[in-house]
């Protein structure tokens, strides 16, 4: 059996074992989820529709530039290829949902626990994904967005005519700019959507704003950590031929960023405190 096949069998075995060991807890989770099947279906549908629509848009932008674009391929084959590329990951997710639902249902059935709530949740997720995929395929293509240049979303104070002065200050600001480039408006709006959906009905506007701010601060913090890792690696590659010792380079990049992280952390803690009041 090939290594990939062995991996799948191994993962299924481990998943089944975990489901069996924690069967009571699994049953409890599905019982809690059962009243929210409509929300589960809607969320699964939105995610699937957004994903498929994004894949279509990316494919439409990249296909004409593909190295295979000039090959004499039948247009029907091209359409099938496009469909496979656009739907491949969603189909894989649907197969996973089916597999998980069947295994979980079987485990609960064997343990003499009611499998009804599990099957209802599974059906909602699957139907939501299925209809979402359909919607993603029929909606008009969104306006293409060029991912580059990243500096479009980076604030910059211009000082034209200023004479260059030797300084490592640019290194300190690089991860912060990288964070801004990462958190473009589209990404932010997509991050905000699940946060808004998680806020229970009846929450006051002030508390909701505090929760949104709290999650926003955490998103910025995570993006800053990812940017810092990326910048440390890129700077090491770029500046290797320079007489800049590692600790000096590390301090120049991390010093200000750590202070910004502490500031964001403090804001997040304050917002959490405000939201609980």
């Amino acid at each position: 059996m090939p290594a990939a096949g062995l991996g799948v069998v191994g993962a299924l075995t481990v998943a089944t074992w975990l489901l069996w060991v924690y069967r009571l807890r699994v049953d409890e989770i599905f019982a809690r989820l059962q009243p929210h099947t409509v929300i589960i279906a809607v969320v699964a549908g939105i995610v699937a529709a957004a994903f498929v629509s994004h894949r279509r848009s990316a494919h439409a932008a990249l296909a004409p530039r593909s190295w295979l674009a000039s090959l004499p391929v039948d247009p029907r084959i091209r359409r099938l290829e496009a469909l496979a590329l656009q739907l491949g990951p969603v189909v894989a997710v649907m197969v996973l949902i089916c597999g998980f639902g069947l295994v979980a249902g079987a485990v609960l059935g064997l343990a003499d626990l009611p499998a009804k709530s599990c099957l209802l949740v599974w059906r909602s997720a699957l139907l939501g994904t299925f209809f979402g995929t359909g919607v993603g395929l029929i909606v008009p293509l969104p306006k293409p967005v060029s991912p580059y240049p990243g500096s479009r979303y980076v604030p910059q104070r211009m000082t034209p005519g200023r004479r260059p002065v030797p300084s490592l200050a640019g290194l300190a600001i690089w991860p912060i700019r990288s964070m801004f480039a990462m958190l473009r408006p589209k990404t932010l709006s997509r991050t905000l959507l699940p946060v808004l959906m998680m806020i229970p009905l009846g929450t006051t506007a002030a508390a909701a704003m505090a929760w949104v701010g709290f999650f926003g601060a955490w998103t910025a913090l995570l993006a800053l950590i990812a940017s810092l890792v990326h910048v440390l690696r890129a700077a090491r590659r770029w500046l290797k031929p320079l007489p800049l010792p590692g600790p000096r380079l590390g301090f120049a990049i991390c010093g200000v960023v750590f202070m910004v992280m502490m500031g964001i952390g403090a804001v997040a803690a304050w917002l959490r405190w405000v939201a609980r009041l």
């Binding site: 980076v154 260059p164 030797p166 300084s167 700019r177 031929p241």
Partner: protein, 244 residues
């Protein structure tokens, strides 16, 4: 006798199991324009990477102005300027910030007027406040070259530096490099442009399959120029193993 600017002894480099540089020994002296030629994938860029400290050789040693790159990397790199590939420049920094970082790393108190004048001659001045990711390939190439020249390095390493430059800028750069070499700098340039060998180089070497197959000494190049022969004939003879 003056100290060699660059001394490579039995240098060997590899990517995994594949040996790309084998037993390279080379000495460059003060005020020399040395051109490295060779087919694609022969190891020219790897050789420059080893000299710049970007790649660690498997065996052999690199000395820059008498300082071992392994033993005293800071002193060796202080005397060297490396023109990185345009795509290696940081996209989210401005050109001015790149220059400031290079100058600070070399512990300069100010950026030389000479370099800013060269930037002006290369028509780069309007781009000092621009982010690198919006610069064209040629403009990025100019920035990479300007960064290599920060701090008047004694050894300048340039890899395909004339790629993407417009003819006027290429001419300006050749003139500036000739002037730097006249003032004692040493240039190691990897290129495919044979006109540089014909008109500017003091010595040239042909690298094939990771080995130095042939070195044209200064006298060989002077003779080529005086007889009006084209360098590509000499190169073709060397490539086919016929010698000079």
């Amino acid at each position: 006798m003056t100290q060699p600017r660059l001394e490579l002894r039995r240098l060997q480099a590899a990517y995994g199991e594949r040996v790309v540089l084998d037993d390279i020994s080379l000495t460059l002296t003060e005020g020399e324009w040395f051109v490295l030629l060779g087919p694609n994938g022969c190891g020219k860029s790897t050789l420059l990477d080893c000299v710049a400290g970007r790649k660690t050789p498997v065996a052999g040693s690199v000395e820059i102005c008498g300082h071992s790159l392994r033993g005293d990397p800071v002193a060796a790199k202080m005397r060297m300027g490396y023109g990185c590939a345009p795509e290696a420049l940081p996209p989210l920094l401005t050109s001015r910030q790149c220059l400031e970082i290079h100058a600070a790393a070399k512990r300069l108190s100010s950026v030389s007027e000479d370099l800013l004048e060269l930037a002006d001659e290369l028509r780069f001045t309007p781009y000092w406040e621009s982010f690198v990711d919006i610069l064209s390939l040629g403009t990025r190439q100019k920035l990479a070259i300007l960064l290599a020249l920060v701090g008047d390095p004694k050894l300048i390493l340039l890899d395909e530096a004339f790629n993407g430059l417009d003819p006027a800028s290429a001419q300006t750069l050749k003139r500036h490099l000739t002037s730097l070499i006249g003032r004692g700098a040493t240039l190691l340039l990897a290129t495919h442009s044979l006109d540089i060998v014909e008109h500017h180089a003091d010595r040239a070497a042909l690298l094939v399959d990771g080995r130095l197959q042939h070195i044209w000494q200064s006298s060989d190049l002077v003779q080529l120029r005086s007889t009006g022969q084209r360098f590509d004939d000499a190169l073709a003879r060397s490539m086919s193993g016929g010698g000079d």
